[in-house]
Structures are given as structure tokens and as C-alpha cells.
């Protein structure tokens, strides 16, 4: 009787401590969510036979986890949204440079780390969305112009706690300097029709309902909302198109990935990264979320293409990371919540 109990106990303990299976595989820590990334990994496995295992979490905890695991981490790739997060991962020495001709050819220079520690895999444009019944496109011009008094009480924004706005303001700081950017952000805050929203979709719904006239969002949220509610009186406006200075062009950010510093399956991980940048994978990667492919040879999804073409801002997205903490402080000072 006693031995039986003991056997059970041992078996139970053994099950509790069961380590992860080891096989030919690539392990990915990803802050890009499961529903966006799993179809891709499934396709890769089908094509190459290589298993892709992944853990999803928010980018902050994932980086803390990589750091804690150090050289014994099971992760080979770190995948996240926003250049700010990738920049921080490189800063913390969690990533390793990859010198790949394929990646260099597929991904434009301003969408990857100058030291090749991370690569953009899709482009996300942060643009203006306005209410067609209340605003004529001719009245809109630039992000900066949203600070002018003519928009008083007509602007809706998402919270400054979201990294997309932090990157946008960070990039503006690198274009205009800190002082002028703070003035612009103060102008935005003065023009708000209501307190900032927790997400882009709610901000657009407020524009559609007439609470305000214009907001700043990532285009794929617009795409998702319109797919669900095609009758909303909303339209996209591409700002900063007529400028020719540093502030010219729509602000773009990326989702991307880098090789972890202590990757156990380095060659396999680089192959996956290269495949993700290839023409086969880019549409799958970007279209599932209505984003833009990072590889310029690949055409965007038809829905996305219908929004028209735009001139992107060409400053390297790494700037957003370097200035992120300062951007957060600036927005705190300006009262952007």
C-alpha cells in the first residue's frame, strides 16, 4: 500500500517537473499575438518540416524573461510590435546581429536596425482618420496641424500609454526637437474633445458618432472596423505629404523580430527570419492583420491598397526607441494622459 502511494507520488512529481520536449525546432517568444502569427508558423512547418514553438506575452515581460534566462533561454527569436521595443531589446543586449544577404535585400534600411540586430517584417502606418460628414480632406494637413486652435474640441486621441503614440511623439522629437514637440503635444491636449481612449477603435467610433472630427490611428484598426461596420462615415487621410523637410511623410512603425543572443538553433532561426521576409511569407504576415508588407517587392492586400498610396517618413524607426522614455516624459509634462 505504502509503495503504491509512493509510486503515485513519484509519478505525480515527475509529471509536474516534465521538461519541454527537445526536437529540431525553432522557439519564438512573441508579443505579436497568436492569431496573427500561428498561420505563418503553420505554413512554415508545412513547407520545411521544422517545428516552430512559441510563447506569447506582452513585450515587457518577454524581455524580462529573456534577460532572466540568460544564456540558457530556450528562445531563438524575439518577435514584437513597435521599433521601440526592439530597440530596447537590442539595448539590453538580448539580441545578436544577423548578417544575411537575404534580409538585407528584402527589408529596406530604415525598417531595420543599423547594427542588424532586428528586422521589420511588416509596416504599420499611423495616420489620420476623419469624419467624412464633418471634415473635408482639404482642411487636414499634418500631425502638427492638429495642434492648431481650429481643431479645438474636435480632436480625439488614444492614450499616451500606448507605445504607438510614444513612438509617434519620439519620432516628432527627432524631427522638431523637444521644445517644439512639447508645444505641439500641448496643442493636441488643448484640442481634445474628450479624455483619451484606451484603444484606436474606440477613438474612431467617437469620430464616427460625431463626438469629434479627427483622430490618429494605425490603419489596420481602421480596416478591421470598416470590415465590421462598412457604413461608418470614416475615411483615411495621409498627413505630411506636401512637406519636404525631416517631418515629411506618414509615420510608420514596424512589427519585427531579431535573433536572441543565446539562440540554441541559430541557423534554423535565421532561416525562419529570412523566410518571413520573403515574398511567399510577406503577404501572409501582413495581410492577416491588414498591415503593409515590409518587403517593397510585395504588394499589399487589396483592401489595404484601396486606401491609396502614401509617402512614408524615412527616418530610421530605431529613433523611436532611443527617444521613447523622453517622449513619455514629454507627454506627462504636457498633460497627455
Amino acid at each position: 500500500m505504502k509503495t503504491l502511494k509512493l509510486t503515485w507520488l513519484t509519478a505525480l512529481l515527475g509529471a509536474l517537473l516534465l521538461p519541454l520536449a527537445q526536437a529540431e525546432e525553432v522557439v519564438v517568444y512573441t508579443a505579436r499575438n497568436e492569431q496573427l502569427i500561428k498561420p505563418l508558423f503553420d505554413a512554415y512547418t508545412k513547407e520545411t518540416g521544422v517545428q516552430v514553438k512559441f510563447a506569447t506575452d506582452k513585450e515587457g515581460p518577454l524581455m524580462a524573461r529573456l534577460k532572466a534566462e540568460g544564456r540558457n533561454t530556450p528562445a531563438d527569436l524575439f518577435m514584437t510590435v513597435d521599433a521601440g521595443n526592439l530597440w530596447q531589446a537590442a539595448q539590453e543586449d538580448l539580441l545578436k546581429p544577423v548578417n544575411s544577404k537575404v534580409l538585407a535585400a528584402n527589408i529596406p534600411a530604415h525598417l531595420r536596425d543599423p547594427a542588424n540586430k532586428w528586422f521589420g517584417l511588416s509596416v504599420r502606418a499611423r495616420t489620420l482618420v476623419y469624419n467624412r460628414n464633418k471634415v473635408k480632406p482639404g482642411e487636414l494637413a499634418t500631425y502638427e496641424d492638429l495642434a492648431s486652435p481650429k481643431w479645438k474640441g474636435h480632436l480625439c486621441l488614444r492614450t499616451s500609454k500606448k507605445v504607438y503614440n510614444q513612438s509617434l511623439v519620439g519620432m516628432m522629437m527627432s524631427e522638431h526637437g523637444e521644445e517644439k514637440t512639447e508645444q505641439i503635444v500641448r496643442g493636441w491636449v488643448a484640442n481634445l474633445a474628450t479624455a483619451p481612449f484606451p484603444d484606436d477603435t474606440l477613438a474612431m467610433e467617437a469620430v464616427a458618432a460625431g463626438l469629434c472630427d479627427v483622430t490618429v490611428v494605425n490603419t489596420y484598426y481602421f480596416g478591421r472596423l470598416i470590415a465590421k461596420k462598412p457604413d461608418l462615415p470614416l475615411a483615411i487621410f495621409w498627413p505630411n505629404q506636401k512637406l519636404s523637410n525631416a517631418a515629411a511623410g506618414v509615420h510608420v512603425n514596424i512589427s519585427g523580430a531579431g535573433l536572441t543572443r543565446y539562440a540554441k538553433h541559430e541557423a534554423a532561426a535565421i532561416k525562419l527570419l529570412e523566410w518571413l521576409s520573403s515574398e511567399t511569407a510577406q503577404n501572409l504576415y501582413a495581410d492577416v492583420d491588414l498591415e503593409y508588407p515590409a518587403n517593397p517587392k510585395v504588394k499589399a492586400d487589396a483592401t489595404v491598397a484601396a486606401w491609396g498610396t502614401f509617402k512614408p517618413n524615412l527616418i530610421n524607426v530605431a529613433q523611436a526607441g532611443a527617444l521613447q522614455a523622453k517622449a513619455v516624459m514629454l507627454m506627462d509634462r504636457a498633460g497627455f494622459k
Binding site: L17, N33, F54, P61, A64, A68, A195, L211
Partner: protein, 541 residues
């Protein structure tokens, strides 16, 4: 052998308590140690621009939620435990259901319904020209959190009221004391440990909450900690804020402890059986039914109906066989976790009863502080030492054999369960502690005289009397683990998803409609312990 047993019974309880305190304290210390290299520029900034607002915000939130859950939870508990009114039997368990809904989901649903673009305000505007309701406000966040968190107080207070001998109240009434006076003078003070246990849980949850306040964009300690850590990349500043929060909670808990230390809440358990409920009639009965129905409607039915509507839109595309595995994982984690949390809470509570010294009380407070820490902070604080231990072992193995091995503890269920204990011990300990407080010490002495000591006394004398509090503790821990996110995300084995992580995948991308299905599934699994609770209290009456 006998000596070993003696030694165990002498030091065992204290060692257990210290071990449990370490389980929680190690993560706290790991987090706090980051303060050692302070980040002056960022700290100055937080001090000047962030702290003033968040102190005021946190104060009002804690006060509002504290008063709200106490009044609502205690009032409803008294109604369903001691009174008889139409629908009582249904509301007695139905009022627990909001526990199974993650608070941030309830928050999102209510904002969706009441904000400018919501159905109701749009209709009000079109029909009456009335402006939007100010739901995204301090009042709004307090209201939603009260609706989400009152069940903690409701459950612990119900357990306390049910355990009270009705004889005391009957005695008071024969002495000419009115029902109302008897409630305020006798029933309420006697239920205090239970009410306070629930209130502490609700307050700790409020202070640790990130999801709900984020939906409201309401800045608190937690949002500032996340901002410092994950947006400004300053672990030291985050650590300073988290440490202030921990001291704040410890001070509150200690104050409460001091204020009730000298009182006794024990009752003779014999008077509890077969008690008559107060039969409410006429207006009083109608009012009671209306109150219970209104709370049930706002806290559960409305969010649930909205979730079901959303889920119906996506069930065809999103529901697949994987959901069985998600639900299975959730159930496994919640059941094992709850069992472990309750066992450890019982050990801690019993140790405290055996050695009611100030040192032991402090140890118990420290062991249960994990619940007041923002989940992601605790998760990282817990994972760092686990990974360090793994690294030590892996490196030792490598230098010994020259072979590479994978993680040993990382990615195992054992680590997940221990982390849950570090976070949720308070959830088990609250009900157990208040339950133990109601058992008279004369019972212990009688048992001792009859030769029952140590574990024997616990199992033969205390456990039968603790059934209701233990079940309450298990139900709370079960549902809390079911909803838990940061620890689950960080420590789960690769590719091992639960219902809660499904909710995360969707809400992280603001796809609230698609999050509805796993949220409804959480609720269904969460019904299980509530069902067991009900069965238990039905068996008693």
C-alpha cells in the same frame, strides 16, 4: 522517531509560515532590489508629474471601492443569509457569479454600453437630446470595480453570517432589542473578521489591478509602475513605486490588525443549526428582491448578455477543437492551484492560531502580500529567481558532464502552481483566518484534555468546523486562478494555452468581440466551484 515527531510539531508550524512568507517575499525582494541603482532623472520626473495625480487617484479609488464593496457585499450577504424573501435561494448563489467575469471585461462592456458611442447614450441623444453619461470617470471606474469585486465581501460575509448562532440574535430579541439594533449591535460586529477578510481582498485586488484601470485610462500606482518599467524602460523607478505600494498595503493591514487584536469573535458552533430566517413581508420583501435583482443584473447579466451576443457573431469561425484543451488546462491549473492555495493557507492560519505572537502575525501578513502586487511585477519577481536556479543547475551540469540540457524548473507546472500560491495565498488565507477566529479556544483546550493535539486536533476538531470557510477559500482561489494572466503567460509551458490566455490574445489587439467566447467559457468553468459551494450550503440547511 517520537523525537522527530515532537520536533516537527514544535517547529513545523513556524517553519511552514516562514517558508510561505519567503515564497512571497523573494519576488518582492527581487523587485525591490532594483532600487539599488536609482534612476534619478526618471524618479524626479515621476515625483513631479506622475505621483501627485496617482496618489489622489489611488486614494479615491481605494476609498470608493472599499465603501462600496463593504456596503453592497455585507448588505446582500445579510439579506440572503438571514432573511427570507422571494428569489432568495436563487440570489444566494447567483450573486457570486460576477466573480467568474474578469473585471476588465466587465469594464469594457460597460464603457461600450454607456460611453458616447454606446447604444443607450445614442438613443438618449436622439430621443431626448441628453448628453453622454460620464462613464469614463472616477465615478465610473469605482462603480465598475464595486460591481466586479463585491462578491469577495459577499462570500466571506455570508460564510460569517451563516456560521453565527442564531441563538444570540434570538436572545437579543427576547430581551426586547429590535431586529435592526440586533443586526448592528450583534450580527455585524461578530461578522467583522469575515467582512474585513473580503474587504482586504477587494482592496488588494483594486491596488494590484491593471486591466480595469487601463480600460478607463485611470492612472494609479499600477499604471505608473507599468509605465516606468515597460515604457520608460526603468526597472529601478518601477521598483521604487512597487515598494511604496507594498509598504502602503502593509501599513493598512497592520492598522486593521491592531484595531481588532483584543476582541474575540468566537461563538459556540452549536447554535447554528436549524435557525429560522427572518421572513420579510410586503414592501420590505419587494425591496430586497429588487436590490438583489438590480445588483445581479448590473454586475452579471448585462455584461454576460453582451458577451454572449459578441460570442454568437464569432462562434462559427473561432470555436474549434482546441477549446477543449484550453478549458482542460484552465480547469487543471485552477483545481490544483486552489487545492494547494487552500492547504497552504490552512497551514498558515493554523500556525498563527498555535503561536499568536506578533512575529507570527507579521509573517502571515508578509506571506499574503503578493495579492497586492501588480501581477506582472510579481510574475517577473518570481521568475527571475527560478531562472537563476535553473541557470545554476544547468551550468553545473554542463561543467560536470559537458552536456547541454534544457530548463529544469522553467516551463513546468510545479513552478506555475507555486507562483499562483505566491500571488493568491491571501485569497485562501482570508476566509481561513476569519473562520478560525470564530472557533473558541475552549474547544482547543477541551480537545487537548481529551488527548487530541497537533494535526489530529486540526483534522478532527477544526476541519469539520472550517468546511464552509475552506470551501469559500477554494472557490475564490479557483476563480482567481482561472482569470489570472501575467503569471500564466510567463510561466506556462510553450504552446500551452488556457482560456485566460485566449482572452489575452484577443484583448491585446483590442478585439473585444473575439475575446467574448473564451470569457464566456471562463465563466462556465467558474460555475463549477460555485455549484459545489451551493450544494454544500444546501446540505447544511
Amino acid at each position: 522517531m517520537i523525537n522527530a515527531q515532537k520536533a516537527l510539531s514544535r517547529f513545523g508550524p513556524r517553519a511552514t509560515a516562514i517558508g510561505l512568507a519567503l515564497l512571497t517575499l523573494i519576488p518582492v525582494v527581487v523587485v525591490a532590489s532594483a532600487m539599488l541603482n536609482p534612476d534619478q532623472a526618471i524618479w524626479d520626473h515621476l515625483w513631479r508629474y506622475v505621483l501627485p495625480e496617482l496618489l489622489v487617484n489611488t486614494f479615491w479609488l481605494a476609498l470608493g471601492v472599499g465603501v462600496g464593496v463593504t456596503v453592497l457585499g455585507t448588505g446582500l450577504a445579510w439579506l440572503t443569509a438571514a432573511c427570507e424573501f422571494p428569489g432568495r435561494a436563487f440570489f444566494a448563489w447567483a450573486l457570486l457569479l460576477p466573480l467568474a467575469l474578469p473585471a476588465y471585461v466587465t469594464a469594457f462592456v460597460w464603457i461600450g454600453l454607456l460611453d458616447f458611442t454606446g447604444v443607450l447614450p445614442t438613443w438618449l441623444r436622439a430621443t431626448w437630446g441628453i448628453g453622454a453619461l460620464p462613464i469614463r470617470s472616477r465615478g465610473g471606474v469605482i462603480l465598475v470595480m464595486v460591481l466586479a469585486l463585491y462578491p469577495y465581501v459577499y462570500l466571506t460575509a455570508s460564510t460569517a453570517f451563516q456560521g453565527q448562532g442564531r441563538r444570540l440574535l434570538e436572545a437579543a430579541q427576547t430581551l426586547g432589542v429590535s431586529r435592526w439594533r440586533a443586526f448592528f449591535k450583534i450580527a455585524l460586529p461578530m461578522a467583522r473578521p469575515g467582512i474585513v477578510a473580503g474587504l482586504s481582498l477587494a482592496l488588494m485586488e483594486t491596488l494590484a489591478d491593471f486591466g480595469t484601470v487601463a480600460v478607463f485610462n485611470y492612472n494609479t500606482f499600477t499604471t505608473a509602475i507599468y509605465k516606468a518599467w515597460f515604457s520608460m524602460f526603468s526597472l529601478p523607478a518601477a521598483s521604487q513605486l512597487a515598494t511604496i505600494l507594498v509598504f502602503f498595503v502593509l501599513a493598512l493591514v497592520t492598522l486593521e490588525q491592531l484595531s481588532r487584536n483584543r476582541r474575540s469573535y468566537a461563538t459556540s458552533a452549536r447554535g447554528s443549526g436549524g435557525a429560522q430566517r427572518i421572513r420579510l413581508r410586503g414592501t420590505a420583501a419587494t425591496l430586497a428582491t429588487l436590490c438583489a435583482a438590480l445588483v445581479f443584473l448590473l454586475a452579471f447579466m448585462v455584461p454576460m448578455v453582451q458577451l454572449l451576443l459578441w460570442a454568437s457573431h464569432i462562434v462559427a469561425t473561432d470555436l474549434d477543437a482546441r477549446y477543449l484543451a484550453f478549458a482542460g488546462h484552465s480547469l487543471l491549473l485552477a483545481a490544483l492551484g486552489a487545492a494547494l492555495v487552500v492547504s497552504l493557507a490552512l497551514a498558515l492560519g493554523y500556525a498563527q492560531r498555535l503561536y499568536p505572537t506578533p512575529a507570527m502575525q507579521l509573517t502571515a501578513r508578509l506571506a499574503t502580500i503578493g495579492y497586492a502586487l501588480p501581477g506582472a511585477v510579481l510574475a517577473v519577481g518570481f521568475y527571475v529567481p527560478v531562472a537563476a536556479l535553473d541557470n545554476l543547475l544547468i551550468d553545473a551540469w554542463r561543467s560536470w558532464t559537458g552536456q547541454e540540457i534544457g530548463q529544469i524548473f522553467g516551463g513546468t507546472l510545479a513552478v506555475m502552481l507555486l507562483a499562483y500560491c505566491a500571488r493568491f495565498l491571501a485569497v485562501g488565507f482570508g476566509p481561513v483566518e476569519s473562520g478560525l477566529a470564530r472557533i473558541t479556544r475552549t474547544m482547543d483546550e477541551a480537545a487537548q484534555v481529551l488527548g487530541s493535539t497537533g494535526l489530529k486536533r486540526l483534522s478532527r476538531v477544526h476541519l469539520p468546523l472550517l468546511r464552509a470557510p475552506l470551501l469559500a477559500a477554494a472557490a475564490l482561489a479557483f476563480v482567481d486562478i482561472l482569470k489570472e494572466l501575467p503569471i500564466t503567460l510567463m510561466t506556462r509551458p510553450l504552446g500551452w494555452d488556457t482560456l485566460a490566455t485566449r482572452v489575452f490574445e484577443m484583448t491585446a489587439e483590442s478585439e473585444w468581440e473575439r475575446a467574448a467566447m473564451p470569457a464566456v467559457a471562463i465563466c462556465l468553468v467558474g460555475l463549477l466551484p460555485i455549484f459545489l459551494l451551493v450544494k454544500h450550503s444546501d446540505a447544511r440547511t
